[in-house]
């Protein structure tokens, strides 16, 4: 029975969550079913990425699982994961099967689970061999019982709407070769899982260049009533275990299903997906200090004049009182319906307005992450043909479709460019970019500013570089070409946030800092020094006096003013620090110390005090 919550606010204004997924509520359950036989404990071989070198196949499987745990903590912390080994020496599972070991049952990820997996990876002899161990002989039962264990775990779930996936990791092309009846049973289990809506995927733990007989597995994986318009995974299966964490860490979910209106008569059904979604740090909650239990909060609206608690607010005032005061405008009173009518005035959909060449799209016609648009043949048969025809012709003619875009009933109408994207497949048959349209959110004139034409920002003289100067710059550009993989670096801010939380959650010391992959490559830049110098000299002149001064030659910070130095010297900083009284000083006073010692002055008071203490400690050490 659904509980009817009369006070729930419908948070339908998803305008801001464009890019965040609209239907994120859906929970996902993921189970790794990993073979633990001795052959999986062999060192991996073949052309493998650096991080897998010297690891066993089992370790690689566990590393993938660990990557999943971490990625889920950042993206969907409510999802639940489990890992089950089959073909183990020891047995540990809810059904007392032999040779099945449920290492982690379904639960949401946390630091302890990550640590357990890490231990297993880091010290297989001690932890894996002793605790779990591999069964010396492969038996067809193992896989079948493993499937049963997974099926039982998923069958016990209370929720019916959740998405369920199982990833099988093995190097055995045919786990039931010896017995056709057992093969039938395994197939039957797999079939039941699929019937219950579980997606099954296989990752063969074999060298990438080695053939893997899929005869048995393709039957296991085959989806009974697969929709031809859903992706088929056959191509990718053997490759790119490394990118698995990324590609599967997020289940493909639609932002919304819409109709693309071409004139008044023709409609194409499409679905929108978020392929780029800015990651955020985790949210904070309030706990009760005594017992660290989460607090329940409730909010009331209180009338400032009478102190009444208001349950229904029907009037709004424009502008806000502080703005009204400055603007000399009388306030305008409105009711909720009027406000809504003002903002949301069109029914959802994409409406074709016309076509423009791709060159009409400037780099500054940009506001938010795009959405990816793919035809929705199932909801409106015939859509795909029309979609593909438009895609093909626009791609060939280097044009995009300009549309008005209303995402939902409570979204503001916007203009959007539907930019065709060609399918790209790498040599190994992996899809690098899918075919479809990228829906780019276009700004309106109100959203664009023109600092470049504002004399108070850019001045009035616009000297242009000479051909020689341009060619020197071009030589520098040529010398400092980067690979595309610089474009896929971790966000140090997000990494730091979760790194610290993980350490704190495990009661471990907080690590110093994260590896910042965004910093320039010093070595690489040093090697092109001649080109940079040539460019510099062509612009700033060989004596580079004016603004060509290189940073190293100018003292970075001003020498302390004499009176400042005196003020700094007048305090016994060491004593203050030792007695913990630094915090009694005011920030400007603290900054004088930093200034006097040429330390950075950024950060809040805590950071400043910490910096002073560190500096004093270092001085002592010297």
């Amino acid at each position: 029975m659904d509980v009817y919550d009369p006070t729930a606010v419908e948070n339908e204004d998803e305008e801001d969550t464009f890019g965040r997924e609209g239907h994120e509520q859906l929970q996902e359950y993921i189970i790794f079913l990993v073979e633990a036989s001795p052959s999986m404990q062999q060192p991996a071989c073949g052309d493998l990425p650096q991080e897998y070198k010297g690891k066993t196949w089992l370790q690689i499987a566990l590393m993938t699982f660990e990557g999943f745990l971490r990625a889920r903590i950042i993206s969907n912390a409510n999802d639940q994961l489990a890992i089950v080994f089959y073909g183990t020496r020891e047995s540990h599972n809810a059904h007392d099967f032999s040779n099945i070991y449920t290492f982690q049952d379904l639960d949401s990820p946390d630091a302890t689970r990550i640590r357990c997996v890490q231990d297993l990876i880091g010290n297989p002899e001690r932890d894996f061999t002793v605790q779990i161990g591999g069964c010396q002989e492969r038996k067809p039962d193992h896989f079948k019982d493993g499937l049963f264990t997974v099926a039982a775990m998923l069958a016990n779930l209370k929720t019916k709407t959740a998405a369920k996936s199982m990833y099988i990791m093995t190097n055995d092309p045919n786990p039931a070769s010896s017995s056709s009846s057992l093969r039938q049973q395994a197939m039957q289990r797999a079939h039941e899982l699929k019937e219950a809506g579980t997606l099954i995927d296989l990752y063969p733990m074999t060298p990438p260049d080695e053939d893997f007989d899929m005869a048995f597995w393709s039957k296991v994986l085959e989806q009974p009533d697969a929709d031809p318009w859903e992706d088929d995974n056959n191509v990718e299966r053997l490759q790119n275990l490394q990118s698995l964490t990324r590609s599967k860490a997020f289940r493909k979910r639609t932002i919304c299903s819409l109709r693309w209106h071409l004139g008044s008569e023709l409609q194409i059904a499409v679905q929108l997906y978020a392929m780029i979604m800015p990651a955020t740090t985790s949210k904070s909650v309030w706990l009760e200090a005594e017992n660290n239990q989460p607090l329940v909060h409730s909010t009331a609206q209180v009338c400032n004049d009478t102190g009444d608690i208001l349950t229904d607010i029907s009037k709004y005032r424009f502008p806000k009182p502080d703005v009204a005061e400055k603007s000399r405008l009388p306030p305008v009173l409105l009711d909720a319906d009027t406000l809504k009518q003002l903002k949301f005035c069109m029914s959802p959909g994409l409406r074709l307005l016309g076509f423009k060449p791709v060159t009409a799209l400037e780099a500054y016609h940009q506001l938010r992450p795009p959405a990816f648009v793919y035809p929705d043949e199932r909801s409106l048969p015939g859509s795909a043909v029309a979609f593909i025809a438009l895609h093909a012709r626009l791609l060939a003619r280097k044009m995009f479709a300009l549309c008005s875009f209303v995402r939902s009933r409570v979204a503001e109408p916007r203009l959007a460019a539907l930019l065709p994207q060609e399918e790209e497949i790498d040599d190994a048959g992996c899809q690098l970019s899918p075919p479809g349209f990228n829906l780019l959110y276009l700004p309106f004139a109100d959203d664009l500013r023109h600092p470049e034409t504002d004399p108070s920002f850019t001045g009035t003289s616009y000297p242009q570089a000479s051909q020689i100067q341009i060619s020197k710059a071009a030589a520098m550009i040529h010398a400092l070409k980067l690979d595309s993989d610089v474009l896929a670096v971790n966000n140090p801010r997000i990494q730091r946030h979760f790194q610290v939380l993980e350490a704190l959650a495990l009661d471990e010391p907080v690590p110093e800092q994260v590896l910042d992959e965004t910093m320039p490559d010093e070595e690489g830049q040093e090697s092109i020094r001649p080109q940079v110098l040539a460019f510099r000299d062509s612009v700033y002149g060989p004596d580079h006096d004016e603004v060509g001064k290189i940073a190293a030659r100018t003292p970075k910070r001003k020498a302390p003013e004499p009176e400042n130095a005196a003020a700094v010297a007048s305090r016994d900083w060491k004593a203050l620090a030792q007695s913990g009284k630094l915090s009694t000083l005011k920030v400007p006073d603290l900054k004088e110390y930093l200034e006097a010692h040429s330390l950075p002055k950024s950060g809040n008071k805590t950071a400043i005090i910490e910096r002073i203490e560190n500096h004093l400690a270092n001085q002592d050490a010297q």
């Binding site: 008044s264 023709l266 909010t299």
Partner: protein, 717 residues
Amino acid sequence: MARNKEVSLLLLDVGPSMHSSLEYAEKALSGYIHAKMLNKPSHEVALIYFGTSDTSNQLNTEMAASGDDDQYQFITYDQELRPPDMSFMTSLSSIAPGDGKPDFIDALTVAADSLFRTLADRPILDKANIAKRIILISDFATPAKDDPGDDFVPTLMEKLAEKDVVLEVNCLDTALQESTQNHSRDANLQVLHRVLSAVRHTVKRLRSETEILGVFKAKEYSHTAYFTGEFRLSNAMHIKVKVCKKSSQERPLAVSKYSDRGHAPNSSHAILTDTEYKSSTDPDKIVPAENRVKAYKYGKQNVPLPAQDEGILKFSPDKGLWLLGFVETQQVPRHTFMKDVWLVAADKTTEKSLVAMSALSRALQARNTVAIVRFVPRASGAVVMGACTPLLGNGRQPDCLLLNHLPFFEDMRSFTFASFASRPEAQPTPAQLSATDDLIDSMQLVQGDEEQLKPDETVNPTLNRFYAFMAARVVDPNAAAPELDPLTSRIMLPHLDTLPRARAALAAAKEAFPIKLSAAEKAAADAENRDQGDEPAENGQAGTSGQEEEKKDEGPRFNLDAAPTTQAETVGSSSPVEDFESLVQQGRPDIAFNGLARIIETLVARSLGDRSFGKALSCLQALRQGCIQHSRPQLFNDTLTLLTSKWDSQPNCKAFWIKVHDASLQQISSQEETSSPVSPREAEAWFKSHAPEQKVEEEQPKPEPMEEDQDEFADMD
């Protein structure tokens, strides 16, 4: 150097050929004045009408004094230059259509002359950093008196250029009634170009009267540097730069909640939000601030982190802008740009930085490359991986770089989709491809130098409407909320009038691609088309004359209450019962039932008088029926209980209950639906005990849930 002054003189043609457009001009100018008062209350504005029946301006008076009284006629200097106030709005709300001869050269002269007088009187305004603008709106239909021998006008223009005054010309370029007028417009524009050649100016063509509404942006920004520092190309070289926002989504100013409980003259009418934290084990125990500790989620764990330690979570980079290297343009495809855009400009005071920036951006352009940068605008703040592309100035503005956010690894998702080639049944035939090409040809929005719907020139109609309505309410507190306004239709629906071949091509495409809508969808689409007044019969003869335009713009082009053309996603208030039925059919009963129950409450609570009660009642009836059919008696019974429980707090609920009672909508009893715990007798008794006159104490309504979003629109539905 934050600018807090700006001077603009508005020149509006109110002459005979402009009469039909004045309604739009009034709205646009009121919106402009309103925006100034809201956002830039110290900016100064003057309002000048030309083509008026009367004459009132200083030049005319002076000339008359010297005996020449037919100079500078039909120009009314309506509002003197000053920070705008309500009298501007009042004046605009009653612009008198004039029958004088609108001479834009004279009007410009009067405006420029008055500006110079003001600058002489108030030298404080005569500074380079105070922007001065003259904004002219006219259709240029009446020939201006052009006297090339006169050296007064050129002198004036030189002086305008010297004071760095910008002239913004908005030319209403719709077809005029008489061909002679079209001719004189061309002549006028030539005169205008000659006169303005010395002055910084922009000319914007308005292709329909509705586009007058979009002449002004909702808010103007002064450009302040977000980051000032060095762009480090490597240890060996840097360029001094400033970084400023180039694009940023403009949102309507917030409204605040209003309480009408206070009746004292000095009532604030403010509503405060009071949040209480209660122990999860003991709901009556309120936990004060000192007993609370903040925690961050790590998976399912809450990791407590006292406020003074929060700093360790932070990644604390130094601020700066670093070059990482260069990649080919196609390596950073357009769809990887993630957020709004910054402009990187060389520091205007150091010429060599300007030259270095120019060389770099031109080399990027020439080599078709993009600079990849690391940007930390604030110490200890966010780190941005950026792609810098050139924005060349060609001598009129400096060569700059545009900086777009690139995604980090954590931000990217790679999903695979079936290859189009793998679906032989979905391959278009040559005929279909050629229909597609025809469609593309017929709906070209860029022709030569002309580009329709250019983002840089297209205002946000929703913002425009929002502010226009607020401005209208300021003058007339009873102004009705606008119907869907013509500007929204103009921008958001295809311009079939300017794309003459589009109708035929769209019809051909419809024939080429047999896509079957379901009967319900078809009906909904037809309803919307009817509302748009879009008759497929009038193929090819898309009207371009001003009058036909006007006719089309009169009514809303599509109806707010029209059934949605897509399947219902939620139960909305416009057609709740249909939404409900659609959702049930789609197999989404939870959304359907809960949504319908909720919408009843909303309809009742927000009803003006009993206006929405009929709709709410029909929802309630539908809900009852649905709950019986789908075995959800509890939901319906709960809804009734809830309505009665709100008698005290909401007078509307009580009033609505009379209707419910009249309709005999009782609780669902076990007789009707076996799973109901209520016996028929109990249902009867409950119904009687809740007769409208009686007041029954029920459970108190729960307090409002936490509102995290400050945006007042967030809880609108």
